[in-house]
């Protein structure tokens, strides 16, 4: 397990935003992290803006927010977010030169496929993000399948090498679900790596279980701390609740009865 977890420096560090730009419907945020260790693909960070974090409408956001990283290298950490609440809205406002409080890398990342096996990466919406660094790590050997609502959201596919696309409205790539594409890829020797909205992950889990293909799912749930202190990120597994920030966010699909 240790090769799937890079230890986090103890405490938050204040980074400087070096890039902020739109990628279709999403926002890419890059910060200089010269002292930070190299994370494992699938690990995550807790983020908060250095300024005006807590003084917004209804005094929110207040807790840091958990984000998988897109890529990390040359002392720069990249994140992609979707403005869906007070925390993501504040982060989406950040511009180069602004401060970003970061804790991480946290959690446990993806495990490599069995020797000689093929990796199939399957992402949906904002959930495609942690698959980018994993695609790089697998060095061109993976098949990458990405699903989005529409062509505007699908612009995030440009962050990947050569993905196959599906959109709900058919405005880019296959008209339908990314799991339609996944079904065609499932064969012996494949390991599936998936991240996306819970209904998609549940479909991936069920599909892989029915074809007896191993899958690793990067899940998301609300977290207050990211390092095991708050016990808020409990996810039900066959063995009982686990703290997603400690045992995940990447879990073996076989460990789950269902993704809810």
């Amino acid at each position: 397990m240790s090769d799937r977890r890079t230890l986090a420096p103890f405490g938050r560090r204040a980074l400087e935003v070096v890039e902020a730009r739109d990628v279709g419907a999403y926002r890419l945020l890059a910060a200089a992290d010269p002292e930070g260790p190299a994370p494992r693909p699938g690990q995550f960070y807790m983020l908060a803006a250095s300024e005006r974090w807590g003084g917004g409408e209804d005094e929110r956001p207040w807790l840091p927010r958990a984000f998988s990283f897109l890529r990390a290298g040359d002392g720069v950490l990249e994140f992609v977010l979707e403005d869906v609440g007070p925390g993501t809205a504040r982060l989406a406002e950040l511009a180069p030169g602004d401060g970003l409080e970061v804790l991480g890398p946290l959690g446990v990342g993806f495990a490599a496929p069995a020797r000689g096996g093929r990796a199939v990466l399957c992402g949906g919406g904002i959930g495609v993000v942690p698959l980018a660094g994993w695609e790089d790590w697998l060095d061109g050997t993976a098949t990458t399948l990405l699903g989005f609502r529409d062509a505007h959201h699908a612009q995030a596919a440009a962050l990947f090498a050569a993905p196959l696309l599906a959109t709900d409205d058919g405005s880019a790539g296959h008209h339908g679900l990314v799991t339609d594409l996944l079904a065609r890829e499932l064969e012996p020797g494949v390991t599936v790596y998936a991240c996306g909205p819970p209904p998609m992950l549940e479909a991936v889990r069920a599909l892989c279980a029915s074809r007896d293909v191993p899958a690793q799912l990067a899940l998301e749930t609300g977290m207050a701390c990211g390092y095991g202190a708050c016990f808020g990120c409990a996810v039900a597994t066959r063995e009982g609740y686990v703290r997603l920030c400690l045992e995940g966010p990447v879990l073996e699909a076989a460990a789950l009865e269902a993704v809810t």
Binding site: F10, A224, F231
Partner: protein
Amino acid sequence: MTEFCGLELAHPVINGSGTFDAIAARRVFGDALVERFPFAAFVSKTVTAAPRAGNPPPRLWETAAGLINSIGLPNRGLEGYLAHDLPELARLPVPLIVNVMGFRSEEVAALVDAFARRAEVAALELNVSCPNVETGLIMGADPAETARMVERVRPLTAKPLIVKLTPNTTDVGAVAAAAQDAGADAVSLINTLRGMALHPRGDGSAWLGGRTGGVSGPAVRAIALAQVAEVAARVRVPIVGMGGVQNGDHARDLLRAGATLVAVGTESFRDPLAGARIAAQLAGETPARSQEIPANIR
């Protein structure tokens, strides 16, 4: 150095029970956690006689300037704690305070008795206040019930016995006085205030899996200060003050109101080194606020 119930502590900042898992943090941060341990003593999560899975998710709700949690006291139970947690926690560089809770007085007595025999344990804290579990309210909300519990367990240990008070009661000073008179060596307060959030889908159902939860964070700081001051006026035993402490000034306020130690809780979720930062601010190394006396509303 700070003296508390016979314990010599490096500074007056500890953690609130259930807000820091030193074993998990060691997995995440490695040895740096031990080398730079942020608290002067470590208070464990609540230990119950039997293992508990905790409440169904969702367990968290961010509220105005704070958090509502409905965790439900997940823990390995006494046997699991003694086998797995205690040996690891004994390696921390600070005294260990074990927090216990039982649903019947015999359960609490068994827990206190078990930990009284362990040299690794410096002190015990009785949770009579957790609002997340149905019966948790009862003892700490009533002075006589609290007194009965403390009287039952007091003869079982010579270790310092701290009673963690609930703010969800009409007269916290009376409960504190009852705990003291029954033999408590110290009291700690405040625990979380009972709160609730509705599901955003708008059908009036509760968001939290446990329906209600405990409110913490800066939202409760003024209440904590008032309750610590009220208890300080009623008891002679030392007080561990907590509630919404985010910096040295907040900690200093609780000390001035009568606390001997200050506990940091929810702020550690935002910053795992919050305890060390607040202790340094208290020691005057980094003033958190200018020395001018500020007006409040202007």
